[in-house]
Amino acid sequence: MDPIDISKVQPIIDRFVGKDVYIHLETTNGAYASHFNEKVFSAGAYIRNGKINYTRGKITGDGPYRAGLKMELGWIYAEGLTHWELDAKNRLLMAGHDTEGKLAVALQISETPFE
């Protein structure tokens, strides 16, 4: 993955507009967060292969970045994004990694289901 460059990622987001796409969205602070520090409130959410269609998508911010997808009836967004990749299967992978290189958030868009 590479550090996010909006001018490169935005056109990819635009490619999927109006298409039925599969979404992977996750946030996590890790399963061990409150084991190592009892004061940490452990929270996360995960959707894999949500099938959606968006009419508008935008990535913005000064880094870490935020990305939002507007659907006919609602929204999907992620914040804290730092890295991106268009992988060999033409899937847009975006993720936010903390200073230790640990994934904290991911938003991925694909025209075919994620395995």
Partner: protein, 220 residues
């Protein structure tokens, strides 16, 4: 000496830290060891800086590391069960216990190694341990294999007492370290910090490497 050992853990590398020495010892003693690994650790968070993997490529990376680790241990019967990381607790517990029962029926293990339900921190660990205990509980008491459990919750010694099995694995510590190292994506940072301490033979670390601790599950 055990006749057959069955190891059941949810993630590649769960076997590495506190169990791989025992696995290596059993294998060196000529005991066949089967390792059922429920997931490929798909939800691992460590991607590196700069990243060496992403959410979609990580499972393949961890699968190869798991195979490497088994090679380091001489473990030939690795069974990757195809479940997904962080979803074990949401599976049907009866179905999962039944998968374990099928393996028990096939292998007839004299010893099973898994996590201690209630004392193993990660929800996948807990659900994995529960399924194993459930499967063994359903057997007639006289047929049950021994179950050695790994526990590491902050309250495990307080609630369970000291572990009753403390196994000296110093004869196979090189294999243990090689197993930990095989899970590079998970342990590279840890190993970098550990190398110096290993060279200095630091007592606390050497104790952690040389001795493995288990609680034998009590069914009654």
């Amino acid at each position: 000496m055990e006749k057959q050992v069955l190891v059941v853990f949810p993630h590649p590398d769960d076997e590495a830290f506190g169990v791989s020495g025992s696995i290596a010892l059993h294998i060196e003693n000529g005991t066949p060891v089967t390792y059922m690994c429920l997931t490929l650790g798909e939800m691992g968070r460590n991607m590196g800086n700069p990243p060496f993997a992403n959410r979609e490529s990580l499972p393949e990376v961890r699968k190869m590391e798991l195979q490497e680790a088994c090679k380091a241990l001489g473990l030939e019967d690795l069974r990757m069960m195809g479940l997904r990381d962080k979803t074990i607790e949401f599976e049907d517990p009866e179905w999962l216990a039944n998968e374990i029962t099928k393996a028990i029926d096939e292998l007839n293990p004299s010893l099973i190694i898994t996590f201690y339900p209630g004392y193993s921190v990660h929800p996948d660990h807990e659900a994995c341990g529960e399924a194993v205990i459930q499967a063994v509980k359903q057997m007639p008491a006289s047929k049950r294999p021994k179950v050695e459990c790994v526990a590491f919750s902050n309250d495990c010694v307080e609630k369970l007492g000291e572990p009753d099995v403390i196994r000296d694995v110093s004869n196979v510590q090189d294999k243990k370290i090689a197993t930990i190292e095989a899970h590079k994506s998970q342990t590279a940072g840890l190993m970098a910090g550990m190398k110096k301490r290993l060279q200095a033979n630091e007592e606390e670390l050497m104790n952690w490497i040389k001795y493995e601790r288990f609680w034998t599950y009590k069914f009654d």
